[in-house]
């Protein structure tokens, strides 16, 4: 049946409109709080304009955290999506889908908090990774992964790659399955190797998979909090500080709710920078 008149369309859309309205009311409230003087247990909503933002932008920690987020986005988004594509291709072409899916979806199913705790133990100076390296006579490769400020961030980024790989695999599996099999058969008849097929047929055909995966992964990297909180609290020092952790500490430890809201608004603004181009491209693609 078709919802032909306006009233019926409205009824169908009512739940999502309600939720969206509430969401935007909350975002607007948050933006207002970011321009208030709420810096204690007591709610205080006197308007102070952009003072909190000025103070935030003159705080060196903001730039350090932002830099870490940008590194996180770059180093997390690209390997995860490409590896996801590669693994999905191997999975589909060998047909061993059950095994692959189990192996790669298991980390995705674990909460970040659990993953963070597990990996801190594995990264410990006498943890699983260093112990294995020593067993294989690779002691020179052992490092204090989490204790060294120059490696801690990358150690955590690796954990998020490990976790989100399954997510990327699923997206690209669907994309690969959407490729017209005739294309691949034709290439195989012409004698193309698996690698050739991958580069010249599969990758161009799954562009829409990247369209889905890349913005979602970038947004995840922007919102990182739990793993930083559980593993290092932004440490050693502020080596793994990210905007999400900075926001939480400011709002809930220091009780500078207005300043925390300012950081949240900045995160929101940056994510708009990711989401809006994505939405425009997607809309153009779907509706011509």
């Amino acid at each position: 049946m078709i919802a032909s008149n306006f009233k019926e369309k409205l009824i169908f859309l009512a739940p999502i409109l309600l939720i969206t309205a509430i969401l935007y009311v909350m975002i607007a409230t948050s933006i207002y709080v970011s321009m208030s003087d709420w810096r204690s247990y007591k709610i205080s909503l006197n308007f102070v304009g952009l003072r909190n933002y000025v103070e935030l932008f003159s705080n060196p920690r903001f730039y350090a955290a932002l830099r870490n987020n940008i590194i996180w986005i770059a180093l997390f988004m690209i390997p995860t999506s490409f590896l996801g594509l590669l693994i999905a291709y191997i999975m589909v072409s060998t047909g061993k889908e059950l095994i692959f899916r189990t192996i790669f979806l298991l980390p995705t199913a674990i909460s970040m908090t659990v993953a963070g705790t597990l990996w801190v133990w594995m990264y410990a100076s006498e943890g699983a990774i260093n112990t294995l390296l020593k067993i294989f006579n690779l002691s020179f490769l052992t490092k204090p992964w989490i204790s060294d400020p120059s490696t801690a961030l990358y150690a955590l980024i690796f954990v998020t790659i490990w976790q989100y790989l399954g997510f990327a695999v699923i997206i690209f599996e669907a994309a690969i399955k959407g490729i017209d099999p005739a294309l691949i058969e034709a290439a195989q008849i012409d004698g193309a190797s698996s690698l050739r097929i991958f580069w010249d047929i599969v990758v161009p055909q799954v562009r829409h998979g990247f369209l889905v995966a890349v913005p979602l992964l970038a947004l995840s990297a922007l919102k990182i909090f739990d793993i930083v909180y559980v593993a290092t609290r932004g440490g050693p020092g502020l080596a793994t500080d990210v905007l999400g952790y900075f926001m939480w500490e400011t709002a809930f430890w220091s009780r500078f709710m207005a300043d925390g809201a300012a950081i949240a608004t900045i995160i929101f603004a940056i994510s708009l920078g990711i989401v809006i181009p994505y939405a425009l491209i997607a809309l153009r693609r779907w509706f011509g």
């Binding site: 247990y41 007591k42 801190v120 204790s147 290092t232 430890w253």
Partner: protein, 473 residues
Amino acid sequence: MSLRKAAVKTSTIIIIALVLIVIAAIAGYYAGAAVAPAAPTTPPPKPQLIIYHWWTAGGEKEAIDAVFDVFKKANPEIEIVENPVAGGAGAVMKAVIWGLLASGTPPDTFQVHAGGELKEYVDAGYLDIVDSVWEELGLEDVIPETLQAMCKFEGHYYAVPINVHRSNVLWYNPKIFDELGIIDKFGDPRTWDLDTFIEVARYIKENKPDVAPIAIASRNKWPLTHLFEVLLVLRGGPEVYAKFWTGMFDYKNPADPVWVAVKDVLKALAIMAKEGLFNANHPELTWDQAAALVYQGKAAMYVHGDWVAGYFMSVGAKYGEEWSAAPFPKAVFILLSDSFNMPKNAPHPDAVKAWLKAVGSSEGQEKFNLIKGSIPARVDVAPAYPDPYRPETADDFKKSTLVPSAVHGGISKEAFVTEMHNIVTSLVTSAATGADIDTLVDASTTQIMQAIDRTGLPDFWKGYTIDYFITKR
């Protein structure tokens, strides 16, 4: 059925479904409100005490249960509705409490550190005066002035303290100390100054290279700031310590005597980090894991609060063989105290007053502290401690100079302490990678100056002087 009839029928179903969902949501909201602490307009069917705390770990839980028993004996008709919220030394609980207080649905009482942490609630106007409980129990006669000051703002009491922990204790491995003759060469740790502490650490490193002279734990950051606060009292004395943590000094002037002492301590930390006097894996460890290094013989010394004794006893480490403790320094007692309060518009004010009386009673304090590993807030309560460490602490509580801890919600504003966590851990981390120490110390000093400004530290204690916090003896 025709297409139009089907459309009408389906849209009717959808309308009915939406209406039902809205009704269910409203009903669920009121059901939830009835279960949550009720506003005073809905009188509860049975007298209750709705209490929030974070004592969920082994030892802590038994301790608070003992106080519940004392309370139940005196008030058998009041039902205790306990809300233990685990996690983060109260960080999670504080967030929950904040929501309850701000929304006007406070619990009857909740756990809070006496001092600056308590003051934040008082300043926000959420707490009621409990002078009557202090008067009835005569607490002013049996609780030392500093602890009174930590519960008293604008001349009124807002909380009743139940225990006292000491922050400045040196935990050490007696076997290592005996082997190297530390006490013979350098004297008892109770009398050491900052330079002696570093000398001892260097001596241990030279003679026992695979033992970390000083254990630290920086995974959750605060234990490192804890070390800073103890070393500041060691180097600067109680007045300088109090001035720094309250911002009551000329902080924009780098030559102020407080800065001299602070820089000495920062420099000491940087030197210790650079010379490898700390355990290198400290960013991976929590406070108890660092304590474990001592009784396992992997580290020689650990500067931390006396909840370490509770931890050692719970893992069966042997006093005198695997661990020993010395107040560090003995002349000053940095204290922290857990207390309970009465929020305004608490649903059951009579139950809260009865609870606060149980908390402040001799019996309650004796039973709680025996199990918890701390000492009573009242000096007239002397439990028969099974451990060798606490009798000295209880004695020092009566005889040493008292100051409130900064890291544990006593003398400072939490926003400032949070910034200190980041500054101190950054200093130690950078020093270990070989950066120039004087540059690092200057950079940290600038960061601390900015933090004092940014967090509004001097305004927090406006109207108070440092004498308020120090009980000089």
